[in-house]
Amino acid sequence: MATIEVQRQLLPILDSPNQGARFYNPELPSSEPFVPGHRTCAGCGPSIQYRMTSKAAGDNTILVGPTGCMYVANSSYLCTPYNVPWAHTQIGSAGSFTAGVAAAYEAMIRKGKWKGKFPNIICEAGDGSASDIGLASISGALYRNHDCLIICYDNEQYANTGIQASSRTPYGGMTTFSPPGPEVPEGKKLYPKDLARMMAAGHPHCYVATASVGYPIDLMNKVRKGLNHKGAAYLMIYTPCQKGFVYETPRSIDLGRLVVECGLYPMWEWNPEKREFNYSFRPASMRPVSEYLKLQGRFGHLHAEHIANLQKFANEQWKMMGVQLPEALIQAADAKNLTNMAAAAEAQAVAQTL
């Protein structure tokens, strides 16, 4: 059968001399496929991520939005913040709807029914969709290797429905489905699903990475690497939610950096060609988890032992990254040593440049 070869886009990688430090790149693309005028909260982490992602992708892009806060807050009928085609899909259809869009463009271009370069097809699913109800659909899309990018914008809860625990809600995180009380003082008892690693392990032919809104250039580059990768790619991106995390709204980007500096959100890339993890990302500092926790009301109920448990968890993540743990962080994993850890002076003592 006579078929037309599908031409694909190649997006340049942005200059980022020190990925872990604050850095402004004047070469950022001017296109804004995600524009103001939506109803997200002040300081909304996911909408910052949406803007960075669509900016990195450019105008030859189709966005898919499963049900979640970024569906409800962004797309109010007769008004849209999207300058590129966007479609809502069901919360469990993140991977499958996206696969349908990708398959349609493969067939339509190949059969001469649509002319142009293969568009960037990006699904931005909340962690409820990505880690729970839409997990199988996303795994299916990654497994079948459709040329698309699936993003889990990870605000660690079901925010749209009024803050309920998801599989990504951290240990100790208070939500309306994991409230603390005399019998359950820590609130959420379970540790978060290791979602991105699960996707890398199960779909090793895919480009998989974690990112955070605290590191915009790194985030945009990972979006572009994912889009440039021929086949499926997956990103899990930390996007704080002031409504659910309960913090001062100007601190979204700070939290996006602190979560990495505290070891609670390891930044890595899975290289599908070499079939190996790249753990070379180093934040400017290492800090105790209490530095991150103390800014958020959702952790306000934690006792010393719970904070120590989170420090233990973070220490394991540092070890996984191949980072030598400073003695202070090892000590901080013991509740007995932790009483003053939230104090600025104590934190300063363990903070250090990598």
């Binding site: 059968m1 109010s76 590129v84 479609a87 899909t89 469990g92 259809s93 029914k113 659909s137």
Partner: protein, 402 residues
């Protein structure tokens, strides 16, 4: 596609599943979303082989569930591709969430259904409850009774659903096994006929980066009524298009179907069966036998149940003394403990000046064949009602009563 240009009209002996696959091939579908469940699976097996052989250029996607199948179909149709998917039994229901979003976004996805009884227990046999449970979701829906009609219905449904005046998804249903796995002679058309009948799919507002649109935004409650009204109107307006397309089909392919009901030996009939699907084939034989015995019995077969041909059903059924509805679907606790067909036929007849007596026959449950002597038994019940001029018992479980 060049392959289709080489097809000449020929008659082949194939079953309903393969006939459906052939129809999808003739429609030159772009995206196929498959997931296995008996008995419709044979359609997807045939399509997989066609793709492997290079007879059909389509993205063949093995989905991870029926929910994903329908979501893939939704995404692909939204992007401008012609889409084919299908299912059976509990698979139809696993995808339930998607039926309303697909019709609500006005995407003419086509879904083939080979009916299967719902669980419990695991039963392969045909019962229409699977597809009928989705009947109010905004899909055009109808049943064929043999392989040729199945083939034809797929092409007809694409043409109707993709018409810019309609833009609605379609469920093209056939009985599991009685149609899906029984072979019959099927005339495969010249591909030129199909090209003449079915223009390429062109949605007015696809997801195309050159003309950005937003699909499916959230609405405020006051925006709900106009949107729901539009969808309801699309369904109503499709009726004229359905009639037009059937006429066009007859002109090009030479097979003339009444889009709404098939009437069999009804000219002087006093009692009639009212049913849909494959049992019509047995019913025709039974009626011929009973006619030899002088009984004035006939059959009205519903071909399209969504949109429901209310006036047509009213006018046709009003002609008779007694109507015996053969359900082949379950309506547990429904009106008169009958099924879907009874409730809707009775509602359609309500405004008629001449209302027949209506009986509901629960028959063919679990995919059990309805045999000739059961048709005779049901006819006796109808004639008995005619003699008495009233209904003693509205619903009968065939095979469980004297």
């Amino acid at each position: 596609m060049p392959m289709l240009a080489e097809q000449k009209k020929r008659t082949v002996r194939i079953n309903g599943c393969v006939a459906s696959a052939q129809a999808a091939k003739y429609a030159d579908v772009d995206v196929i979303a498959a997931y296995p469940i008996r008995p419709y699976t044979a359609t997807m097996m045939a399509l997989a082989q066609m793709v492997a052989n290079g007879e059909l250029d389509a993205e063949y996607i093995v989905a991870d569930s029926e929910h994903s199948q329908l979501s893939i179909a939704h995404g692909a149709s939204s992007s401008g591709a012609r889409v084919f998917t299908g299912s059976s039994g509990v698979g139809v229901q696993f995808a339930y969430e998607l039926y309303s979003p697909i019709s609500g976004s006005r995407m003419p996805v086509q879904m083939m259904i080979a009916d299967r009884t719902l669980d419990p227990p695991g039963d392969f046999g045909s019962e229409h409850t699977d597809a009928l449970s989705t009947r109010d979701m905004g899909w055009i829906m109808g049943w064929s009774c043999d392989a040729q009609e199945a083939f034809d219905n797929h092409l007809i449904a694409y043409r109707i659903g993709e018409d810019p005046r309609v833009l609605l998804p379609q469920m093209v249903c056939q009985d599991g096994f009685f149609v899906s796995h029984i072979t019959g002679d099927v005339e495969l058309p010249d591909s030129g006929q199909v090209k003449e009948f079915l223009p390429p799919y062109k949605h007015p507002y696809p997801l195309d980066p050159r003309h950005p649109v937003s699909h499916g935004p959230q609405i405020m409650p006051e925006q709900g009524p106009p949107l729901q009204l539009e969808r309801a109107r699309a369904m109503e307006q499709s009726m004229a298009v359905i009639e037009e397309v059937h006429e066009e089909f007859a002109k090009i392919f030479g097979r003339k179907y009444d889009p709404w009901v098939e009437e069999f030996m009804t000219d002087d009939a006093e009692v009639v069966f009212f049913l849909q699907g494959a049992h019509a084939v047995t019913a025709r034989f039974a009626i011929q036998h009973m006619r030899e015995r002088g009984l004035k019995v006939g059959m009205v077969r519903l071909r399209t149940i969504r949109p429901y041909p209310t006036d047509r059903v009213k006018d046709v059924l009003s002609k008779f003394k007694v109507v015996g509805v053969i359900e082949t679907n379950m309506g547990l606790g429904s009106v008169s403990s009958g099924g879907v067909l009874y409730a809707e036929a009775a509602a359609a007849l309500y405004e008629s000046q001449k209302r027949p007596l209506i009986l509901s026959f629960m028959a063919g449950m679990g995919g059990e064949a309805i045999v000739l002597k059961e048709f005779y038994w049901m006819t006796e019940k109808m004639l008995d009602a005619q003699r008495r001029g009233k209904i003693e018992k509205r619903t009968h479980w065939v095979g469980f009563e004297e």
